[in-house]
Structure formats: structure tokens, C-alpha cells
Subunit: 163 residues, 2 copies
């Protein structure tokens, strides 16, 4: 990986780099479509469903912490939590370590109907990941981390645009 810092233009790209950009854009489309389809089957929207996924990994957090994890605004997060609570996936509860704080907790068993939808995706991804050498895996991890960083930066820019 080169450490050059000049800003390239689209005319600098090789055919392979264009292919990479194309596959990346396609990847983000596939993620949106797949998660919309899963969310449809759960009666949720894709954002709610992904927030639930963050919550299942983080354990109980405050609404503010969930906003930070997901990159959403605190206003948007309140609506997400309301919908998830109404659908029985999460509960709001007092933090046992600080009773003045309210945390959002995944409802035990609430995600029971979600896991089967992901089993096959998980197995396929696991098989894919296990095929790469350590060196190749490092390149991919580095690439994904930077993509995730870029996405977060873009979300922060969009928040500033918001009226």
C-alpha cells in the first residue's frame, strides 16, 4: 500500500481499480437489499434491524451510546428504540449499576426468530474468510476498516447537512 497523499482523480484509475470501485458499490447495494429483505420478514425496517444487531453485540447501552455505535442521530435512535420496543425486541430498563440511567436491553428470546435467517449467511461468510492467507486477510481487514471509517465520516457530514 502506498502512502502517497495526493488526491487522485477518476482518470488516474486503472481498469482493476474501477472494477474494485464497482464491486464495492455493488457490495453496498447488496447489503442494503439483503438487510431490507430480512427486515421485511421480521416486520422491521433495515435500520431498526441493524440497530438491534449492534445491541445484541454490545449488550445493554444508553440511547446515546447506541447513537454513537450506529452513527445515527439521537433523534433517529429514539424512534428506532420505540419501534423495537413495540415489536418486543428490546426493553428500556434502569441501569443496575446506576439507577438514574436508562439503558436499552435486547429482550431475551426476542431475537429468536432472527438467528435462523443468518445461519446460512454466517456459514458462507465463515467459509469464505477461512480461505485467505494471513497476508491476504490483513489487506482485506485494512480495506474494510478504512471503508467503515469513510462511511462514518460521510454519515457525520450528512448529519451536518440535515435541516
Amino acid at each position: 500500500m502506498s502512502t502517497e497523499n495526493h488526491q487522485p482523480s477518476s482518470t488516474d484509475l486503472t481498469a482493476l481499480q474501477w472494477e474494485l470501485l464497482h464491486e464495492l458499490r455493488h457490495n453496498s447495494s447488496r447489503a442494503v437489499m439483503l438487510h431490507q429483505m430480512i427486515a421485511d420478514q421480521l416486520g422491521l425496517n433495515a435500520t431498526d434491524h441493524k440497530c438491534l444487531d449492534y445491541l445484541n453485540r454490545s449488550g445493554p447501552v444508553t440511547a446515546g451510546q447506541l447513537a454513537e455505535l450506529t452513527g445515527l442521530t439521537t433523534g433517529a435512535i429514539t424512534n428506532v428504540i420505540d419501534r423495537l420496543e413495540q415489536a418486543g425486541y428490546v426493553v428500556r430498563d434502569k441501569d443496575p449499576t446506576d439507577r438514574r440511567r436508562v439503558v436499552v436491553k435486547p429482550e431475551p428470546g426476542g431475537s429468536g426468530n432472527i438467528s435462523p435467517l443468518f445461519e446460512s449467511l454466517f456459514q458462507s461468510t465463515l467459509t469464505l474468510v477461512s480461505r485467505y492467507t494471513e497476508q491476504e486477510s490483513r489487506v482485506i481487514v485494512d480495506f474494510l476498516k478504512q471503508c467503515n471509517e469513510i462511511a462514518l465520516e460521510e454519515m457525520n457530514k450528512l448529519k451536518e447537512r440535515r435541516p
Copy 2:
């Protein structure tokens, strides 16, 4: 990349491979959140917005072709096109090469308010992509292609589950 064909279990994974899985899951979450945020600003949902993106790249296609491109069901695509048409982003029109066929066309100028939201994302991604060597780029392209293939397979499985 090894060509072994046995199905690994999650206990076979190294710390690096777990990190890769984690970043990949995070990547898909970021894609969902970012595109939801963009769609919110456009008054569309994320699926509609991504279908429009496919359409802007493909040019005029039939509803059936758009379903195939996006991986959505033809039923879902009809609703997407209805919403996009109502919002002024696309029109349904007779195919000039076969007047019996109806194609969906991006409305000229309809996407004018979308491009600015993507300029900065495009520039950041272009800069990222241009930093990798040819060999590294090949690894990433291969990885993304396989992820996209897996996502499509999962979408097809979900369609079969659909009542």
C-alpha cells in the same frame, strides 16, 4: 487463497479471521445506515434509492430486468418503481425498439439532488482504492465479488422462505 473445500466451523478461525468477520458485519451495518440516511434526505427508503442507483447505471430496463439486477422479487420491484415514479425519479415508457415492452427510465434531472450527496463519498473511496498495489487490489476485488455472490444466494434463499 487455499482451494480446500471442507466446511470450517467458527472454532477454526484465527483472531485475524474473526476480526475480518467483525469488520465485514460492521461494513454491512454502515452501508445500511449510510444509505438510510441518504434516502431519508431524499424522501425515499434505502431500497428505492439503491434501485435508482442500479437504474442510473443500467439505463432503461424492464421491471423484470431490474428485479434480476437488484435481486428483489418482481412484486417488490413493482412497488419500488411506483414510489420512484411518484417521487419523479423515474418514468415508465414504451421501449423504442419494441413498442409492446414497457421499460423504466431514470427521469432526466431527477437524480440531480442525489449526486451532491455522493461526491465526497466517491472522492474518499477513489483515494482509498488508489492506494493499493495491483496484487492487493486483486485480493480485495476477489473478496468483494464473493461477498456479493453470497449476498445474492442469501436473497434467493429468503425469497423461497417467503410465504
